[in-house]
Symmetry: C2
Subunit: 414 residues, 2 copies
Amino acid sequence: MSLFVQKFGGTSVASIQHIENVARRIIATRDSGHDVVVVVSAMGKETDRLFSLAQEVGDLGSATKREMDVLLSTGEQVTIALLAMMLKKLGAPAASFTGSQAGIATDRSHTKARILKIDKERLLNTIKAGVVPVVAGFQGMDDEGNITTLGRGGSDTTAVALAAILNADECQIYTDVDGVFTTDPRVVSTARCLERVTFEEMLELASLGSRVLHTRSVEFASKYKVPLRVLSSFSDKPGTLITEEDDAMEQPIISGIAFTPDEAKLTMRGVRDIPGIASRILGPISEANIEVDMIVQNVSADGSTDFTFTVRRDDYDQAISLLENVARDVEALEVNGDNNIAKLSLVGVGMRSHAGVASRMFRVLSDENINIQMISTSEIKISVVIEEKYLELAVRALHSAFELGTESAVEVKG
Amino acid sequence: MSLFVQKFGGTSVASIQHIENVARRIIATRDSGHDVVVVVSAMGKETDRLFSLAQEVGDLGSATKREMDVLLSTGEQVTIALLAMMLKKLGAPAASFTGSQAGIATDRSHTKARILKIDKERLLNTIKAGVVPVVAGFQGMDDEGNITTLGRGGSDTTAVALAAILNADECQIYTDVDGVFTTDPRVVSTARCLERVTFEEMLELASLGSRVLHTRSVEFASKYKVPLRVLSSFSDKPGTLITEEDDAMEQPIISGIAFTPDEAKLTMRGVRDIPGIASRILGPISEANIEVDMIVQNVSADGSTDFTFTVRRDDYDQAISLLENVARDVEALEVNGDNNIAKLSLVGVGMRSHAGVASRMFRVLSDENINIQMISTSEIKISVVIEEKYLELAVRALHSAFELGTESAVEVKG
């Protein structure tokens, strides 16, 4: 007998009919002799509806974050009640629990709280009594009894945290896609659903996986070694298992190709290569809450260097004007940028033990006449920046060259 | 400086625009130098929407009452968050509290829980800090940490209970009508809004007041001597104050005329007049959850009597067939009924000290050729049953004869 935490996202519980399907899935797991703890999100567009009510009130500063949490947490509360009712109607004992009732204690950071500890007594007693606990994802309570929410992807985090504390055999994240793919199937028709990826790969595949799993929940699962499975609540496919790296198993060299369109790059040329210069450049950017993605700085020549980084395209205009101020301060030669680029990454733990992946990647792009503007590598990832109009061509060419597609899935060669 | 508990019902908070109006009203009270504790209901039709989601799940037995409370309590939770946001936006410090956060402890009777005690510390500290507490009406928490709801009119009960425990100067129930009227203004155009009624009168005027105030909250206010004011959130009229009877003040003889259409009467004729017979007759009726209103039994002749009572018209068919079974058991002569009647009541504490009200009432009806089928009286009420088609005529004639209308409101003579 195993214990599974099963988490169902908003699209999986979008209507009463959907909730009935979810209930039947939970009951099927129970009928196979397993215990289940359920975590759910708000129904379909409910969070959007609540959020737009708040927008209608208007002028939402940090002063109203506490109330935003009170508001948004009702979304999941509606789902737990309806799903518990449905389970009972279909003959399975069930009881709903809000975040606070499930013993989920967080810090006081409203709208982006972190789980501090979970008092598992009530859930354990519920499971022991043969009752299915249906827990509201995304929410908890701080030490003063205020309702908190965990921010984006919070329901996944709730599920993983419960799986960790309850020592569950698997945390199953049900969603509206079949799992994690080698790349976006909308771009490459032969994209294949991966049976298995490592936590590290999943984190590097963030741009693919973010539609499926929030980075934070993957980090959490990795830290507490909780096997995560991403699968569809609309099919019976096994989905993708995300686990620790297993030495006994041959790792494919490349697991997938992640990409991000809508990026922009900024370069400060002729920067004096002295300690502290990077933080002087990026300080004002991060203070403006602009997220910096790739950062590349080459070796200096004549004591000066070029410093390049990428941001989301939406942030480009603000970033470039901030950077021009900095350039005057640090006496850089010039600032220039390009808001017409995209990032593309090959990801795979097998890369560690296989040489030549990078050169092969560059050759494939060169064969397609695609110029590489920036390169950045980690142990299990090679990222390049290219002109955006070549992005789909590049993804398709690499997907084919590294034989990631459905047809060649059986034998991946190095 | 006074402390007011202000309760706003569903129609008063039906939209963000409504919520803004409510917030301005609260701020105006604060600006007059008073402290305010706010209690709110769910927005407009929100409770109906939630209830219909539960209906869609279907087959709601007592087994799902706990989940029904989890579901319905989200309605008020949405309102407290939005109103607290709005108050802050308009410059008034505010904080929302769910029933449990406000310290409202109830018994375990899901969907119709009773308040057992209120831990007022958190609210008192909030008021002391100059912050407006915005409390979710209708809900509490039992001793096991489960969410409970108080049933119909529950938000009024929350407001009155908070006013009692906080020793508030007045509990103000804002609604969509101007107050308690001498009778239904839709039936009598000259119906007048009462400045003041006693708790007793308000309870007897239930059929008028139920649109405004639930009986339970009036009983509660009466028990704890909380002055209640019913007023409109859509006007600046003073509304109706409901208080204890004040000896120093001249009481009007008649405060109002209550009536209930859609009633039915049932009579068991030739019942042996022996102890226990009434409970043998009414036992099966109450076991079937049929509410009995008037009960009349006249003195017996020859050891046998006639027993008559009224029920809601919807319950008539079931009641008559139950009664026919009882009639066989108790060897009554016959059962007959009439599902085409209405009840009408004159209510007024002044009746106690003024003779002749009943005879005057009967003369007015007789002058209109209206036959009185049943009569029942209490200290401050005279109720009659008449054929339904005469109901509006009777109400208008009595309203005029007892000079309850707007024109003659200045001097009411005995």
